[in-house]
Amino acid sequence: MSSSNDDVQPGVPAVETAAMDAMVEIERADPREELAKTDHDTELGIAMAEDAKRVSRGDISAEAYWEKYDAAAEREFGDAYRETPNPSIQSTDQTIDAGTADSLSCTVGSIESVACEIDAASADEMDAATDGNRTRWGMVIDLQKCVGCDSCTVACKAENRTPPGVSYNVVMEEEHGEFPNVTRTNVPRPCMQCEEPPCVQVCPVSATYKMDNGVVNIDYDRCIGCRYCMIACPYGARYFDFGENYDDEVEGAGEITSPEYGVDRGKRQDGESPIGNVRKCSFCTHRLERGEEPACVETCVGDARNMGDLNDPDSDVAEMADSTRSFQLKESEGTDPNVYYLK
């Protein structure tokens, strides 16, 4: 294959295939040098690698390959060789014939079966530690670092695609004192994800409930929109979705919705949930599930918002929540929020 100068694409360098291969050769590590770095036999490694290339070219069979090297590999790697599953021996998709596979000293089983054993072992571990070690998501907001820029509110609206009148996060701005002795406090308010949530207590259809990870969930497919939870919430953190849209402000405003609580509902449509339901901050559960921080935490310009596992005593949030500066909103309500503030 050769490329001619006629069909050169703009922005794509016109390089011959041979030249590219040469470039790869320059970058390729020298096998001898690499193998010399290990404790194992360099010559055996080189020989196995060369024969492996022959197997992939079809010059020799996989059976012949493993018969040739099985004894040598066992001598070289010992128990480690015997206990490591051989990729050629798969219970469902075995690449060498059964007779040869049986004759090999490496008989630990397929990669799949080993992987299953590892999963089962870690699941047992999780079960044993369910109550003690499960994640309890918590947020700590340092009021000394909050500048009141409201970017958390904006990030939240962008991430969760909330309609007009619904704002999972707001910044409550309070001014105290008289000029010139005035102070201003900015208190960002997401959902507190209370340990004892009054909203869960009053829902007549248990559409809102506490998840194992501490987040209070709303099942949009069950919520009947009676708004009793909004009456019960001492933090005003719940909002009713009246079905309004930003159509006048943005073209195609309802085209994309956020996969809240991990459920992708597609386009925003009249008469479809979450319209007619009560909504609130979910600590960006969908982001937490893919290992990301909530949008408000990620965007905070002063690094005032912190997210982490309150059940892990070594986590930053657990340490901050334990500090003398820490407090919760309306502690006397007995709701025990998982959102802490630092004075």
């Binding site: 009148g165 007549p204 009793y228 001492p234 005003g236 079905g243």
Partner: protein, 422 residues
Amino acid sequence: MATDTTHFEFEPGFTDNRLRVVWYAALAVLLLIGGAAMILRITEGMTSTNLTSTTPWGAWVAFYIYFVGLSAGAFLVSTLANVFGVSGMHRVDRDALFAAIISMVVALMFVWVDLGRMDRMYFPFIWRQLTSALSWEVHAYVAYIAVLVTELYFSMRIDLARVAERGSGLRAGLSGLLTLGRRSTSEASRVTDRKWLTRAGIVGIPLAIFLVHGGTGILFAVSKARPYWNSGLFPVIFVVSAVLSGTALVMMLYVLRTKLFDDEPVDRDLLNRLAVLLAAFIVVDAALTGIEMLIAIASLHPHEVETWAVILFGEMSWSFWWFMVGMGWLFPLVMLSKREWRETPWLMVLAGLSVVIGIIAVRFNIVVPAQILPVMEGLPHGSYFPSLVEWATSIGMIAVGLLLYTIGAELLPLTPLDRGDH
């Protein structure tokens, strides 16, 4: 029995046909307005209301608790005859029960319209929450309606059987169906009916007081986030104002039906008895509300004090002074103060109507003020007055109730055939 010897004639309903036409025409207009508004409510969703996330409960919730209260009150009046055997009250017991059933139907319509997802109205019967007062309430309402229907059946069955036996036409046919096959008019069957009537009433009294209406009060009182509601006296006031409105309604219906349907002289003793009862309930209701207010203000809890300031001096204070205090308490108390006035039927209709309207303001002043002040400083203040759609749908649903009541009163022997004088 008087009806055994005289020519049997059963024609309840308007004696004046012109009045009938005017009344149904007026209801038709109200139903049309309500129907149009309901279409807007369904197509536009909750944006057709003036509700917000700060004030999520409004007129529909206020009317819902109003009609639950009206029903509980009317039912309790009926038990004066059925359970406690107060003499002379049998004349009004069926009317009270029938009005109680219709009120519950209207109340449930208001709850239904208020749901963000009207299509999911049956969900509370599929999924429950033991700690939710609302979850319990929904079930209590169903049980309560069952008790009311049972009561009305045992109270009216013997007359239904008589009408089916001796009457003719639509009324006789309907009455025959409603006897559910028990067509005996013997004294023994009457005794059996009375026995079951009392039994159902005994189940119904605690159900109505503690679960249905007390429970509706509890629904509000458990909301610790709203200190104005979060008081032990609250459910008690709920029940008292319910009995107040129920008594007023029954008194009003008694006079109107006796005059316009039965064309008979009003029993002045009965009227006086109902009026005295009404006056007593007004005094208790006003006194308990006063106590509730004093405790709230004396607590110096900022949220409580400010909420009462909103009620007494705020934007909507006219509803408190003119409707709640004026029409609910003062005007009827004056009307009820002289025996001569208490025995004047049209004045008592006026007094009853005044209370029935005044208690609507009581319900609004329960629901709305607690949602005006934000739950936390820094959140937006609420401001609420029902939208045109909210008013018009409310009128429509009330008209449905009036229509159902009128049809029932035209077809059923709500007035005992023996005039309840046994």
